[in-house]
Symmetry: C2
DNA sequence: CCTGTTAAAGTTAAGGATAAATTCACTAAT
DNA sequence: ATTAGTGAATTTATCCTTAACTTTAACAGG
């Protein structure tokens, strides 16, 4: 038996031969080009279906100089917020006829660089990116910027970037979270922050500071714990905080996972949340509904942000002149009150 | 100012012209083909770097009939197990020089069909798939099977499929989980199952039945609750169970999320876990460590399964004759004992 | 001195689809 | 009857890279 290889796929030439037509007529007919006689078009489409023709997207991309592929760079697909964003992106992308190629930077700059290069070589029509926590220099995105290939950052975005960005209102989120803790009676509020090179955490910290200032609570940088916001890092920091002599009465954590870590460590030490310490997280992860006490957090819809990001990108790709594209779109945030800050 | 379009990218012809060489020499030099003089090769590579040349992957794919892209179909990227698997797949794929295009079926057969078609048109070199819960007929994968394009299923796989599969030992998992409950003293054990059209849930149920049988506990199909295993569906089913007159003393849930839902509903009704009812989940999701009491569960590494799946696929793509490829690889499972089944 | 060999190129032809330019048949208008 | 115009198709060139085939020059051996 002869082994079939991948080469004997049906092409438009096969259809053309079968119908005694030219390849370009077939091509046009399949695209419902009005230059083609209705009868011919139907004949072609019928034959294509019969022969099991599937267009070769690679050949089409090469010729059209358009791949209908969008590159997506995320630090990790397993982060709840990111996986929600990916869902939003996928759904919207499919609606617009684009496929998504995903790359994970694993929070490293080196990998991020490599991915940008790969996507450039792939000739993606546009790039969607969430930068790694450690990216401060964005020069490796230059191939896209210099060649005018649409590029949209969301969630974590470069500072002073002249391009398109989609973010949550992190300052407001930090402010609201901290203000809520104060209103619930907290006087000594600790803060878990991520890398301050990252706009997100900078803004959340700034919001935290601003709320303290409003209520005349002096800022104390001893209360700010900067780490990578994983469960383990949070447990570590929590031990430090809870074994100190001046234990705080509130914590605003820049993500939910490390707030969860804090609550678990507090429970281990029989320190009552919310009675002795009140806690606010960030993102409204699934875990915030699972931990007990349930976690007060700042809602930020990954799904919607992903959707908005790709919508913006697609408008840029299609050079949509009619609709005005917002350059720096900011999503509203909302405080979700749960048990971890009950009075 | 003239607008730059995406077309004026550097090609091998530009390099060839600049050096007064032919395009094929440049092509060869860039691929370190031994037919090219070392001096020439260095000259070409230097010039390529200088001119900012990036190979056009689309043209190369068309010519080589190989895209180095692998398609991935998952029900949802946001499921913890799936996102872990994606991480494993991504890392390994990168190592082997492949890019991953991800599509979500959203647990619908229609979307799954469409994705298969898209990936076929994309001329992916291979396809990795986790079927939707509702897929019973796998004919839509035929384009791949008939054209001998490597196809590997993992986690959820078709029954009686003659191709390559990677699964966890779901029967053993179901058996071990149920046996553990029995050994902890449970006599009346309920089971949350997913769609029984899906091998996973069938096997876990079979394991559950087998354990009951071993300990001479009669199987009672009133105790099996089939739903889609989301938090909401679990809450609904839990209400039913817990408000009935014959409340069980144990629950084996086919995933962690619905076990979490059950524990939450039990807490709401002041039914103590594990004292009154013991609970075992499946997958060792993050949530199993967050819920209190912490959830006993069956470990199944998504990361490793993803890695194994893509390794198998890559071997198939490369027609690796030397290494024997296992057709139906089964991962060991392990019971992780936590507080939800304490005696 | 000529043939044979080899290294190091160059030329040409896919790969499959499509846009642009061209041809052809036929109708309408002068 | 001749020209212009139109609808419907065909031909050709192109996208960029690479594999297959050819050429060229240099040199060794009889």
């Amino acid at each position: 038996m002869k082994e079939r290889n991948n080469t004997n796929k049906i092409t438009i030439y096969d259809i053309a031969n079968a119908l005694n037509l030219s390849a370009s007529t077939v091509s046009r007919a399949l695209q419902n080009n009005p230059l083609i006689n209705e009868e011919t078009r139907e004949k072609v489409q019928l034959m294509a279906a019969e022969m099991g023709y599937v267009p070769n997207w690679i050949a089409s991309s090469l010729r059209k100089k358009r791949s209908n592929i969008i590159g997506l760079i995320v630090p990790r697909t397993s982060m709840y917020f990111q996986s929600q964003a990916i869902s939003g992106i996928q759904h919207a992308a499919h609606k617009y006829g684009f496929s998504i190629v995903i790359g994970q930077s694993d929070e490293t700059v080196a990998m991020e660089k490599e991915l940008v290069h790969t996507f450039y070589s792939l000739r993606v029509d546009g790039l969607l990116a969430v930068s790694s926590m450690f990216t401060t220099n964005f020069d490796h995105f230059n191939p896209f910027i210099k060649n005018n290939i649409p590029l949209v950052f969301y969630d974590r975005v470069p500072e002073d970037f002249s391009g398109y960005t989609i973010t949550g209102d992190d300052f407001k989120g930090g402010f609201t979270a901290t203000e809520h803790l104060i209103q619930q009676g907290c006087k000594r509020i600790a803060h878990f922050s991520g890398q301050l090179t990252c706009n997100l955490y900078q803004q959340r910290l700034a919001g935290y500071k601003s709320a303290l200032e409003k209520y005349n609570i002096p800022f104390n940088d001893q209360l700010v714990y900067t780490h990578n916001l994983t469960l383990d890092a949070a447990l570590q920091a929590s031990k430090e905080i809870l074994s100190g002599d001046q234990v705080p009465d509130g914590l605003f954590s820049a993500n939910d996972m490390s707030a969860v870590g804090f609550i678990q460590e507090a429970r281990r030490r029989n320190i009552a949340v919310p009675e002795q310490i009140k806690v606010v997280g960030y993102s409204n992860d699934l875990s915030s509904r699972i931990i007990s006490p349930s976690l007060t957090t700042v809602e930020q819809s990954g799904y919607k942000m992903g959707e908005k990001a790709i919508e913006t990108l697609v408008q840029l790709i299609n050079k949509d002149e009619k609709t005005r594209i917002t350059k720096n779109y900011v999503f509203e945030v909302e405080l979700i009150q749960r048990d971890s800050t009950r009075k």
